[in-house]
Each structure stands twice: as C-alpha cells, then as structure tokens.
C-alpha cells in the first residue's frame, strides 16, 4: 500500500520570540555562579602552585644559608690555622729574621714623654700598648 504524505509549508518568519526577563536573570545568575566557582577553583590551584614555587625558593635559600654558614666555619678554621703560634713563630723567625725579645731587652725607662733616651738614634718610639684582653686578670 502506498503512503501519501502531504507537505505543509509553515511560515514562522513572523514569529517573534517574546523576551523572558526571568529566564535571562536566571541565566545571568548561573553564569555569575559558574564564574565565581571558576575563580575560586583557579585561586585555590594558583595558591597551591604558588606554595610549591615558594617552597622551591625557600629550599634554595636554605641551601644557600647552609652553604654560607659552612663557608663561614671554614673561614674561621682557616683563620685559626693562620693564627697558630707555631706558624707565626716560624714565619717570624725564618722568613722575617725576627727573634724573641731577650729578658730585659725591653726596658721601662724613667724619662719624660716624647724624649729619646741616651742621645742615641731612636729606632722606634711607641707608647705601651693598651691592656691585653683576657689573661689572668689581676694577679691575685
């Protein structure tokens, strides 16, 4: 049996969609909510990544601080080695030709200030140095 279909042309060009303010508002609210949610999610993610990035920086700074502290200790050790009395004495004796003052070689002369003694050539003139730190303090 043959079916017959009739085509009916309907012209809807004059149909105008009636604006629906309520629907519009709902759509805007939905968009705003999604946007807020997106901002929060991105913000959370950004914080997370920022923490990790700062963590790298802190760790690098910690390594740098540790390295500098160790370098400081190494320099202090080097300073202590350079100030070794055995080394100083060897340098003074062998390289500079110095020797320890013999007993009585340095004398306290009773003279007025700024006046050379005995009329001889003054090789050095100096005031007595300031008190040496530490030591035994007063003798008693």
């Amino acid at each position: 049996m043959t079916d017959f279909h009739y085509r009916q042309f309907i012209d809807n060009s004059r149909v105008v969609r009636v604006p629906d303010p309520r629907r519009r508002r709902e759509q805007r609210l939905l968009l705003a909510a999604i946007a807020c949610l997106a901002v929060l999610l991105f913000g959370y993610a950004w914080q997370n990544f920022e923490i990790i990035r700062l963590g790298y920086q802190v760790e690098n700074a910690r390594q740098t601080e540790s390295g500098l502290a160790e370098w400081n200790r190494a320099l202090r050790l080097e300073q202590a080695s350079l100030r070794d009395p055995i080394r100083i004495y060897a340098l003074a004796e062998n390289r500079l030709g110095m020797e320890s003052a013999q007993p009585g070689q340095v004398e306290a002369l009773v003279i007025p200030p700024q006046t050379p003694a005995g009329g001889g050539a003054v090789l050095a003139s100096a005031s007595r140095p300031a008190a040496v730190a530490g030591g035994v303090g007063s003798a008693r």
Partner: protein
C-alpha cells in the same frame, strides 16, 4: 527498502554508551580514591617524602681568648652503589689513584657488594674535586662532619681526638663527648619528580655544647716550645710542663713531650696520646720537702730560723741508714730547704709523726684525684699511715715511698703561692651553645680550702725564694722578676732489681713568680734525662725560660728593676730576609743597623739597652693604674675619667679583677678592662 533505526533509538544507544563510559570512570575513580587510597597514599609518601637525620654540629673547644682549638667542618665522603658501577675495575683504578687506596681491594669490594659500599670517608676538598671531575657512574658523595685541630700539636693530649665516626676517643673530646655531640634532628623533606626538595618540616638539631678552656694558646706554645728544647738537649724519655694561675687554679698550659698531632692520630702510639700530666705517677723527691716543712711550720713544730743538726749527712731511721747528698752539719730550717738536706727533712718529719704528716699530705690533695675535668686522672699512691713501716716517715719526708702526678705537685705549690689556700685545678672556663660569646668570659674566683696559715705560707715563700737565690734552684732566677721554687731529683725504681736506680732520675722544678704577688706557678718534670740529671741543672732552666716569656706576655709588671748598662744579646738579622719583606712589614731599618753585638755566652746573662739605639717606651711618664677591686662601676668610671683612661666593662656589681694589674703605668688614653661581679 530497509527500515532505518528510529532516531530516538539512536539517541538512546548513544546515551547508554555515554552512561557506561561515565560509570566506568566513576568506578575506576572509586577504586583509586576509596579502595586503593591508603596503598597509593603510602606509595606516594615513599616516593615524595624522605626523612633525613640531621647531625648536630659538634661543639668547639676554644682557649680562654676564644681562639678555636678544635672545630668541625662538613667534608665529602665518597661511596658507590655497586650495581650502578659500570666498570668496577676501571672505576676502582681511577679512584685508587686519587685516594691512595689499593685498587685491587677496592675493585673486589665493588664487584662483591650488592648495594651501598663506602669507598673513602672524609676526604680532602681537592680529592673530592678530582673525583667529581671524573663523572663516574654509580659513585656519589655524602657530607660528613670532620674534626680539625688548627693548632696542631698544642695541648693535644688535653684536647684528645675524635674517631672517624665522630666520637671522642681521648682527652676532653672523650670526657665531654655527650655534651659536645649535641642532639641530632630530623628533616621531613618532600621532593618532586626530579628529586628537588620543595617543602620540609624540620625538627632542629640541637648543636653540641662548646667549651671555653682555661688554656691560653700562647702560653701553651711557650711551654711546648721550651719543653721541646729541653727534651732535645737532655734526651729525656718524657717531659711535662704545667703552668697554673695560683689564685684560682686555672690551668694556662699543659705541655707533654713527646706529643702527637690529633689531625693525624692513626700513626701515633697510644702511649703518646695519654696526658702524662694527670695520669703518670712518679716519686717527687725533694720537691715534697715543701709539704714536710710547711706542715711542721704550720704545727709550730719548727721555725725557719731554728737550727737543726743534720748529723754530717747521715741518719738512721727504722733500722736503715739514710745518707744525705752532702755532709751538712748545723743548718737552719730555711737552709735545709735551700740546700735540700734529706737528713734535715727527715728530722723535721719525725717531729710531725706519721698521722700528722699524712693529714697534710691529704690536705694538699695527694692520694686523691684533683677533680680536673680530664679522663684517666690518677690519684697517685699514698699509703695510709697504718701501712707505713718504721722507715716510711723518713722516706715520705723526703719524697719517696709516695707517688704523685705532676698536676698534684703544681696544685700543692699553687697553694703555697696563694697564701696557703688550695684551689682544685680547673681546665674548663665556660660553656655555651651556638655562636661564641662576643667577649672573653670573666675569670671569676673559685673557693679554695685553707691548708696552711697565711703567715706560714709567707714564710714558705721566702724560703723558696732563697732556694732560687742561694740554693739548688739558682738556674731559675729571672730578670726583672723575683722567683721562688724547689728542685727535685728523684731516683727511679729499676723494674729489674726493684731497687732505686743509680742511672735514672726524674728531675723536676716547681716554682712561682713573682714572689711578692705570684701570677703563675710552673712545674717542669723531665723523666730520665741523659747526662746532667739534677732538677736544678735541667728543669730549673726550663722554668726560667718559660716564666720569663709568660710573665712578659701576661704583662705582669716587674717587681725588681732590670739591671741597666749591660750588653744586649741578639743575632744580626739576615739582610736577605728583610730585603724581601721589608715593604710588607715596616719601614724601619734592619735591627742590625748600628748595633752588631755578639750573642751572649749564656742565655741567663741579664741584658739591657744596646749602645747603637734604643726602643723607647715612655709609659713610665704615664699614669699608674689604681686598684679598682671592690669598687662600684660608678666609682671606677669616675676615677678612669679623672685619670684620662678608657674603661672597658664586663659584668655587673663590684669590681672583681682588672687588667692591667694595679700599679702598672700606662699612657693617657690607654684602656683598662675591669670585670664586675657579685
């Protein structure tokens, strides 16, 4: 025409497929995040988190001026993960060349090991650099702490040394190992896929405690240098020098010879690493007469001017005849000490009796440890009077049948020098954690116990001064300072015959200077010197050399004038040395210019200004430093301001001690340091 699937059914099929896919994803998510949650979390933790134990930095050992004597640094240790080493033999060869190891042994270890394998620990920076440059697969580095002793042999037995695992094995390193090591910490580190750390939670390590010692590195150096010279000239088997502050018992130096370098202790015999000053015992000989005579004076059983018949050098005690080293007749008590008469000392000891002499021996600290904070201290050998024979009183009176340690003798002489008050010897001045304090800690006073009366001590000091001026200790005379002491020459017991040897002696000298206001006590002990062996001949000159230099270093004012008009002893300066370095050091002409005096014949000859020039110190025209002790900060500050002196203050309260000492002359504008306390 085939019937087409209705569109609604296609949509339904599509929706069903989509639903199945979503369901599968959800199920998988459920499995991962709920069912396998704990397993995956722990796996992630293992991959990303590492717990690292952080070693606490070992505390430092510093001298009294805060100069480091021992400190630790992080150095590289090299290890291998054997499975990752591609060519073990070649790798071993290359490493062995740099590290000085046996290549075959190293190759064997790399081949047989299944994992971690140490190659070398605590290597030098240069070795680490060379190994890194090789980029050897499977070879890695780890940081470990290594102990360094920048002053080398100075005070080595006192400081001790640290083993490869960072544990103290001798001296202060052993005694205070727990305090020096501190408490390790922990770090929980989170790492990314590349192994870089980005987060860590730290339980901080507590650094070890650092110790400030009473030792002065410069005094230690002087003592060690002079002792080494004496050892070289006398060829003694062993030598010890102790320098002590008699006012508070602080040890300024302990020197032993032979000694060792704690930076390289592996090749050192164990006997050299012990501190003979506290652990070796010896019969003190005549030095012990100080105990006998001071006890008799304190008990009013004798007077310094009392005449005693020394029986021409022979006395019988307990059925045995003891001979003196000379045939003395009548001697005063003072002369008995000056000439070191054994007979005289025995007669004085007999007056005391066993128990009283023993009581004074114990009061002076003999027969018991001094309590100095060093390991291995011997208490010496002092038998109780119940175990003395009839002859013991005679032997002990002259320093035999008793064994003492050098530190005990030094403490005894310090007690006499300090007016009869015994101070236990101290080696620790202060402790701290972390960074060193900005300034030297205050010396502080320590309570002592009275052994003999102050007047008796003064009499003993005068007698000991006579020993140096007229007696057996003449070699201990100083230039510009008075000195006092007692010599000792004790026969050693021959282990083969168990009798006193005629060839082996312990020569010693214990003394202090200046006599009027003792600043230092020095004990010198030489075991088995060859050739000359008397204490006055070999030990007293060492005392003189050390005392002269240490008193000058400590800025102790002269208590007797330096004799004027005598030739200066010095050697001309090699011009070559000055030609290279004169620009660096000074613009002054060489010291030899205008004065070419030959060196003195004897080192003890007093010296004075050279004729060609003078080093002028004009401080005698300056200001005499007052005695600030006991005064308030305000009073001290006002006085300093009035005198034109700069004041440096430490602490609070009343002035306890000062530097320089009262009476020292200073130029205007000089600095006085005063310690205050309660």
């Amino acid at each position: 025409m085939r019937a087409s699937v209705p569109s609604s059914r296609r949509v339904w099929l599509l929706e069903a497929a989509l639903a199945v896919w979503v369901l599968a994803v959800l199920v998988r998510l459920f499995c991962l995040q709920v069912l396998d949650y704990h397993q995956l979390e722990s796996r992630a933790e293992r991959q990303q988190s590492r717990t690292v134990e952080v070693d606490a930095p070992r505390g430092m050992l510093l001298d009294r001026h805060l100069h480091p004597l021992a400190m630790s640094l992080q150095v590289d240790s090299v290890f291998a993960m054997a499975p990752q080493v591609e060519q073990p033999r070649q790798t071993a060869r290359r490493l062995a060349r740099i590290l000085g190891l046996d290549a075959r042994d190293l190759a064997g270890r790399l081949e047989t090991s299944r994992g971690f394998c140490w190659i070398a620990r605590k290597i030098t920076a240069e070795q680490a650099r060379r190994i890194r440059a090789l980029h050897l697969p499977g070879v890695y580095f780890e940081k470990e702490s290594k102990r360094f002793y920048p002053k080398g042999v100075l005070a080595a037995p006192v400081l001790g040394y640290v083993g490869v695992d960072g544990r103290g094995l001798g001296g202060l390193e052993l005694e205070f190992d727990r305090e020096l090591r501190g408490t390790p910490g922990q770090e929980l580190v989170e790492v990314d896929a590349r192994g870089r750390a980005y987060h860590q939670v730290e339980q901080a390590a507590q650094p070890g405690e650092s110790l400030v010692l009473t030792i002065d590195q410069n005094v230690e150096y002087i003592a060690q240098q002079e002792l080494d010279k004496a050892m070289a000239s006398t060829h003694a088997r062993r030598g010890t020098v102790i320098v002590e502050n008699p006012g508070n018992g602080q040890i300024l130096a302990i020197a032993n010879a032979p000694t060792f370098n704690p930076n390289d202790y592996n090749s050192t015999p164990l006997a050299r690493m012990t501190d003979a000053a506290i652990s070796d015992v010896y019969e003190p000989g005549s030095v012990f007469k100080l105990v006998t005579l001071s006890a008799a004076l304190d008990e009013h059983l004798a007077r310094p001017d009392e005449i005693i018949n020394c029986q021409m050098g022979s006395i019988e005690v307990g059925g045995r005849v003891i001979h003196d080293h000379a045939r003395y007749g009548l001697l005063s008590v003072s002369q008995i000490l000056v000439h070191s008469s054994d007979v005289g000392a025995i007669k004085i000891g007999l007056r005391l009796g066993d128990q009283r002499l023993y009581d004074y021996i114990r009061a002076y600290g003999f027969g018991q440890p001094t309590g100095i904070a060093l390991p291995g201290e011997s208490r010496g050998l002092v038998r109780p009077p119940q175990r003395w024979t009839k002859m013991s009183i005679g032997a002990v009176s002259m320093g035999q049948e008793i064994a003492v340690t050098p530190i005990q003798v030094a403490a005894m002489v310090s007690a006499i020098a300090d007016g009869g008050v015994y101070h236990a010897p101290r080696i620790i001045l202060d402790r701290f954690r972390g960074d060193p304090p900005p300034s030297v800690p205050s010396p502080g006073d320590t309570a002592g116990r009275r052994v003999i009366g102050a007047a008796i001590a003064a009499e003993m000091q005068a007698m000991m001064a006579q020993v140096v001026l007229q007696g057996t200790g003449r070699e201990a005379q100083l230039v510009g300072y008075t000195s006092a002491g007692k010599t000792g020459t004790a026969q050693k017991v021959d282990p083969g015959t168990h009798a006193y040897s005629a060839d082996h002696y312990v020569a010693s000298f214990a003394g202090f200077a200046p006599v009027s206001n003792p600043a230092i006590v020095i004990l010198v002990e030489l075991d088995s010197p060859q050739g000359l062996h008397e204490g006055g001949e070999v030990a007293a000159p060492v005392f003189r050399a050390i005392a002269q230099r240490v008193l000058a270093y400590l800025n102790v004012p002269h208590d007797v004038p330096v004799l004027p008009g005598l030739e200066r002893a010095h050697a001309p300066v090699p011009p070559a040395a000055l030609a290279d370095d004169s620009e660096e050091i000074s613009d002054l002409p060489p010291a030899s210019a205008g004065a070419a005096d030959p060196p003195a014949e004897t080192p003890s000859a007093p010296v004075g200004a050279a004729s060609g020039g003078a080093v002028v110190l004009d401080y005698e025209g300056g200001i005499a430093v007052p005695d600030f002790r006991g005064q308030s900060l305000r009073d001290v500050a006002e006085k300093c301001q009035a005198l034109g002196l700069e004041l440096q203050v430490q602490g609070e309260g009343a002035a306890q001690s000062q530097l320089p000492s009262p009476g020292t002359r200073m130029p205007a504008g000089g600095t006085v340091k005063v310690w205050f306390g309660t």
